[in-house]
Every structure is written in structure tokens, then in C-alpha cells.
């Protein structure tokens, strides 16, 4: 177990290191060197600046001092990231860390709710489908699931936005809270906290619905397949003969063994969906991580863009890392390092 932990931690750290290095290399290699471009911009806007001042500002923005030798630039860049310094945004007039720090919780909130719902709905449907394998419900849900699962979520998102947002006016079409609501989470003020959370959910509901509708089908189909496999296992037959109650068999035998293989998928889904958050947040004008990344791309705000990329990639790495480490807790077969027989 200890060895496993060390190995996985090492792998995660290595991946993170590769990601950060790649992002450095990308900026260095990007056509139309961002530093030159920024320099040009600064000179155009304030022609009176001295060369030194311009260099200082460029270094401040990009977090890379172009006049230093390459390895020094690289080390500075890494050191900056370790300190949480991702540079200064060009378009937003704030530090990159600050912008992303504010945006990230909203993305995590909206997409966590969406992914959890997606898994809950998918797992429930999948088990019912498996129990009624071959029924009209099973066949119908399988068909619907496949169709929805192959629809890109931004298509559903646009449709929802048009129908429920603009035409029917049931849901807000942008933002993450109403302007009059105070963002507060304080157990001493339950009413205000509740108002804030409810308002946040309300604003995120179309986005959540778009993710759930296009995602639950895949989960349901996976759950259905796993459950059917478990239902055919010898140990299930033995459990029935031993006279165990149907509830115990459904939960402790079928559900547990069918959901287990999907656990890793759940954590990886966080990474994947947050990575794909850009389009959805753009559609719903939801100021989260993805929204700022798109904004940064449009404004050629390299520091913000890079910061966003690094953050998202790290999120995926961390998700996979947590999945790896905790899988041993939920599946006894992993903790001893594989199958003995």
C-alpha cells in the first residue's frame, strides 16, 4: 500500500511538472511571441515609457523576463507558480491568480452538482434497466440514452437557453447570482445563506440541466452493463440460495459491485467536464473558469489564458490522483495490490 501511494504521488507530481513545463514552452514557442506583442501594445498606448519600464511591465504581466537566459526564465516561472503567482491579466486589470481564484469556485460548484446529479440519475436508471432487462422500459431508455449521450452538450445548452431562458423566461440567461443577493455562507445567518445558495442553484440550473441531460445516458448504460454482469455472477446465485434479503442483494451485492468500476470514471468526469466548461460557460455567460479562458483567448490575454490552462490541467491530474488513492478504500482488491489467485 505504501509503495503504491509513493508511486502514485510521484506520477502525479511528474505529470504536474510536465504540464507546467509544457505551458512554459508553449508561451515561448507561440507564434507572434506574446511578449513582443505586449511590448508593442505598451509602446502604442504609452509612447513615453522607457525601455526599462516596458521590460519591467512585460515581465510583470507574462511572469517571464525575456531578457534573462532561458533556464533562468524557466526557473523564475516555476518559482512564480509555486508561489501562486501566475502573472498579471492584461485585459482584466487584476492578477491572474485573483481572477481564477474567484472564478474557480463557481465552476466547481456548478459542475459538481451537475456531475453528481448525472451519476445519481444514471445509476438509478441503469439499475432499473438491468433488473428489467429486455423490457420496453429498458429498450426505450437505452435508445434515448444513446441519442442524448451523443448530442454535444452545447447544443442542448443553446436549446435550453433559447426555450427556458429567452422564450419562456423561467431561468436567468446569464450570471451566477442575482445582483441584489449577497454572497454569504454563514451558519449563523441561515436565511441569507439559504437565499444565496438557492439563487446560485437557480442561476446554474440550465447549465446543470445541459450537463445532466447529455451525460446521464452514458452513466446509465455503463451501470446497466455492469449490473447485468453482476446479476449473472455465481456469487449472486449463492447469495440468493443463502436466503439473503432482496434489499441486501440489491445494495450490497449488485449495486456495490456494479458501481465500483464507475468510481474512477466519476472523478475523471470532473476533470473532463471542467476542462470542457469553456463552451457551456460561454453559452450561459456564467463567469467561471471556462468563461474567463474564452474571454482571455478573445482578448489575447496570454497570462490569463495560460493560468487557466495550467489550472484546468492540474485539476484533471488531481482528480485522477484522488481517484487512484481512494480507490483502495472502496475496493478491497486494490489495497493488497491486485488479485492473489
Amino acid at each position: 500500500m505504501y509503495e503504491y501511494f509513493v508511486k502514485r504521488t510521484g506520477q502525479a507530481l511528474f505529470t504536474a511538472f510536465v504540464v507546467v513545463t509544457l505551458s512554459f514552452a508553449l508561451v515561448r514557442l507561440m507564434p507572434g511571441n506574446p511578449a513582443d506583442q505586449l511590448r508593442g501594445q505598451l509602446i502604442r498606448n504609452n509612447p513615453s515609457l522607457s525601455q526599462q519600464e516596458i521590460n519591467r511591465r512585460v515581465a510583470n504581466y507574462i511572469n517571464i523576463d525575456y531578457s534573462a537566459p532561458l533556464h533562468e526564465q524557466y526557473l523564475d516561472y516555476i518559482a512564480g507558480i509555486l508561489r501562486g503567482d501566475l502573472g498579471q491579466s492584461i485585459s482584466q486589470n487584476a492578477s491572474v491568480a485573483e481572477i481564477l481564484g474567484q472564478a474557480l469556485p463557481w465552476t466547481v460548484f456548478a459542475f459538481s452538482v451537475a456531475i453528481l446529479l448525472m451519476f445519481v440519475v444514471g445509476i438509478a436508471l441503469g439499475s432499473i434497466m438491468a433488473y428489467w432487462e429486455g423490457s420496453r422500459f429498458d429498450v426505450g431508455t437505452t435508445g434515448i440514452g444513446i441519442v442524448l449521450n451523443s448530442t454535444p452538450n452545447y447544443v442542448t445548452a443553446l436549446l435550453f437557453l433559447y426555450v427556458f431562458g429567452f422564450t419562456l423566461g423561467w431561468f436567468p440567461t446569464s450570471g451566477h447570482i442575482s445582483s441584489q443577493v449577497v454572497p454569504i455562507v454563514d451558519p449563523l445567518r441561515p436565511v441569507a445563506t439559504f437565499q444565496f445558495v438557492a439563487d446560485a442553484v437557480y442561476h446554474a440550473s440550465l447549465l446543470i440541466a445541459a450537463v445532466v441531460i447529455t451525460g446521464f445516458g452514458g452513466v446509465a448504460l455503463a451501470m446497466r452493463g455492469n449490473s447485468i454482469q453482476v446479476l449473472g455472477e455465481d456469487y449472486l446465485r449463492v447469495a440468493r440460495l443463502r436466503g439473503l434479503s432482496d434489499t441486501r442483494i440489491a445494495l450490497r451485492y449488485v449495486a456495490r459491485n456494479a458501481i465500483l468500476p464507475m468510481y474512477t470514471g466519476l472523478l475523471l468526469a470532473f476533470g473532463a467536464v471542467i476542462g470542457g466548461s469553456a463552451i457551456l460557460e460561454q453559452v450561459f455567460t456564467y463567469p467561471g473558469l471556462g468563461y474567463y479562458i474564452v474571454a482571455a483567448v478573445e482578448a489575447r490575454d496570454y497570462p490569463l489564458m495560460m493560468g487557466g490552462f495550467v489550472l484546468i490541467t492540474l485539476a484533471v491530474v488531481i482528480g485522477a490522483f484522488i481517484a487512484d488513492l481512494t480507490y483502495g478504500l472502496v475496493d478491497p482488491r486494490v489495497s493488497t495490490g491486485g488479485d492473489a489467485s
Partner: protein, 360 residues
């Protein structure tokens, strides 16, 4: 000879077997006209056909048959556990040590649930996959005791004793997960789990099939010890005739979904009367030889949808006559403890000499 005599026998005994005629015998499971059928597109598949047999209290009976002879169905039918859409007909009567006989096939869900495992227990083929992979062994025992409202503490003590009877370290096994034990250990843990509710009868379907030869032999000897210690009746189902001669008091040979021959082990080994039993024994040059050396019997196993008329063995039998093709041979008594379903059994000694020189 036996046209007249066998017809006579048929008339007088009807569907009851020779065994049940002696009234002083202590029968624990009584099967009459036991049949299992599956409806299929191309017709009804009869995978067990009108089987009559009595299983005596305290004996180990070996049921031998090729794959596809109906032996697994026989095992499941004893517990009324044939998987749907299979249909079980006939009668299985369980005679508890004290109390009224129980009609196993007529039981409702609740009583059936308690009969299984409390009175008649079963060890399946495939012990490797008989345990929930995400649960340790202790929980398997606890949930079984719990489902049958047994006292958990006393039950776990019994489980520990059973496990040590089976030469396992009880604490280690109880705290292990299925993947942490070897195949042989899992097999023995499964036997302990099957006995934890103190059943009277233990039905085992190919319990040693996946094990190596050494492990097979050691489980065989453990089973005899268990039978003596816990007064068990065992039904041991296998395709491995040499193996079962080491263990069983009686042997029944299944061919084409019914019994071809039933008798005491000694008689069955030394002087079997059915041509099929002889073929099985002759296919084993040495009863102590590993099964891998066994030669297959020529001809194909019969199709359950289309069982041959007359004697089901006639198209593989070297002694078959016209009579065999038309008339189904009834069970005929060879001795008090031995019966056979063959028209020409008295001639078998001349026609098919036994090539095994091994005495039991």
C-alpha cells in the same frame, strides 16, 4: 432372459424404486418422477427425466455423469433451485430427523428460503466466484446467520470450528477478502459457509472440478471426516468416477437425464452391470490415475430435446438389440443393494469384460 422378469418388475414396483421397498431404511431425501424441463424454440428440453432415487440419512452418495447428463440439474432440483425458466416437476420429499416430511417442490417462498441452507445446503461448481469480491469472509458468515435469524456469536464460533476442521486458520480466513485466498482455501471456506447453519444434507456440484489433483484428494478426505463429525448426508455430484469411488458409500450413474445404474460403491466398481458404467470404468485404466488420462467414451451425449427412444444408450451401446431400440429398460434389481436399467445386464460380463484390475 429378462423380458418377463423385467416387465414383472416394472408392474409391481411402478414408479417406486427398489430402495424404498425396504421400509426400515432411514431416508432423508426421496425423489419421485423428478423432472426438469426448459421450453426452447426447437422443443422442450428435458434435462432431467422422471428420476427416482432415495438418499439415505448419513450416506455419501456419488452422482456420476458426463457433462450434459443432467447431473447439475439434479443437484439444483434437490433444493428446488432450478433457475428460471426451467420447470421442475415430480416430487422431492425431505424427511427431517424429527417432524413432518416436507414437500420441497411445493414450498412457498418463505419456507423454501429457510429450508435451503438450514436443512439442505449446497456447494456450487465454481467456488472461485461464489463469494462477493467486495466483502470479507466474516461478513459472508454473518449475513447468512442473520438472514436465517441464527445467533451470530454462536454461529461465528461454529464457523471457526468448521474452518479449523477444514484445516484453515479461522481468524485469518474470516478477516480475508475472497481474492486473498487460494482456490483450494476458497473451496474449503465455501464448504464451511454451507455448513454454518447445521444443515442435514449437503449437496455438492463438482466441488473439486477447478482444483489440482492433490487438493482434490485432500478435500475428499476432509469431506468424510466432516460427515462423521456432523452426521451429514452428502450428495457428491461429479463427472469423475475414479474420484468418487474414494469417497462415496453408493454411486448413481446418470445417463441421458436418468439413472442408468445405482449401487453400493464396492459393487459398482467390482461388478457394474450397465454397459455405460462399464465403458466409464474401462475408460479409466487405473482407478488411481488422474482424470486427465481418462479416455472419452465413443459417441455423442444425447440431445435433451430429442432423447432416443427405447434405451437412451442404444446408439452407443455395443450390446444393443432391436428390443433396446424400442423398449425402455426398467430399473431391475441385481442384488439388494444394486439396480440397473438394462435389458441385457446378465450378459454384460461376457460381452464387456472389465479391464480395471483395481479393487476398492
Amino acid at each position: 432372459m429378462s423380458n418377463t422378469s423385467s416387465n414383472l418388475h416394472e408392474r409391481q414396483s411402478g414408479s417406486s424404486t427398489f430402495d424404498s421397498q425396504s421400509s426400515d431404511e432411514d431416508i432423508v431425501l426421496e425423489c419421485r418422477n423428478l423432472s426438469v424441463a426448459f421450453e426452447m424454440d426447437r422443443g422442450t428440453s428435458r434435462v432431467l427425466h422422471d428420476v427416482d432415487i432415495d438418499i439415505r440419512r448419513g450416506e455419501i452418495i456419488g452422482i456420476v455423469g458426463e457433462s450434459g447428463s443432467g447431473k447439475s440439474m439434479f443437484a439444483s432440483a434437490l433444493l428446488n433451485a432450478v433457475v428460471s425458466p426451467g420447470r421442475t416437476d415430480g416430487q422431492v420429499t425431505y424427511h427431517p430427523r424429527d417432524g413432518e416430511p416436507v414437500d420441497v417442490l411445493g414450498l412457498d417462498k418463505g419456507p423454501l428460503r429457510s429450508l435451503r441452507w438450514e436443512d439442505i445446503s449446497m456447494v456450487f461448481q465454481g467456488a472461485m466466484s461464489s463469494f462477493n469480491p467486495t466483502m470479507d469472509f466474516r461478513e459472508h458468515f454473518v449475513e447468512t446467520l442473520d438472514a436465517h435469524d441464527y445467533d451470530i456469536a454462536a454461529g461465528i464460533e461454529r464457523a471457526e470450528e468448521l474452518l479449523s476442521d477444514l484445516y484453515l486458520d479461522p481468524q485469518r480466513v474470516l478477516d480475508s477478502y475472497p481474492h486473498e485466498l487460494s482456490g483450494g482455501m476458497k473451496q474449503r471456506a465455501l464448504i464451511a459457509l454451507a455448513l454454518v447453519l447445521e444443515p442435514e444434507v449437503l449437496v455438492m456440484d463438482e466441488p473439486t472440478a477447478a482444483l489440482d489433483l492433490l487438493m482434490q484428494r485432500s478435500i475428499i478426505s476432509l469431506l468424510s471426516e466432516l460427515r462423521d463429525k456432523y452426521d451429514l448426508t452428502m450428495v457428491f455430484i461429479t463427472h469423475d468416477l475414479p474420484l468418487v469411488t474414494k469417497l462415496a458409500d453408493r454411486i448413481g450413474v446418470l445417463y441421458a437425464f436418468e439413472f442408468a445404474e445405482v449401487g453400493d460403491t464396492a459393487e459398482m466398481v467390482r461388478d457394474p452391470k450397465h454397459p455405460y458404467t462399464r465403458a466409464l470404468l474401462n475408460a479409466t485404466p487405473n482407478l488411481d490415475a488422474p482424470l486427465t488420462e481418462m479416455r472419452p467414451i465413443s459417441g455423442a451425449a444425447p440431445d435433451p430435446v430429442d432423447v432416443p427412444t427405447g434405451c437412451p444408450y442404444h446408439n452407443r451401446c455395443p450390446m444393443a438389440t432391436a428390443e433396446c431400440e424400442d423398449i425402455k429398460p426398467p430399473m431391475d434389481a441385481v442384488s439388494e443393494t444394486h439396480e440397473v436399467a438394462c435389458h441385457h445386464w446378465p450378459d454384460v460380463d461376457d460381452e464387456i469384460p472389465l479391464s480395471t484390475g483395481v479393487q476398492k
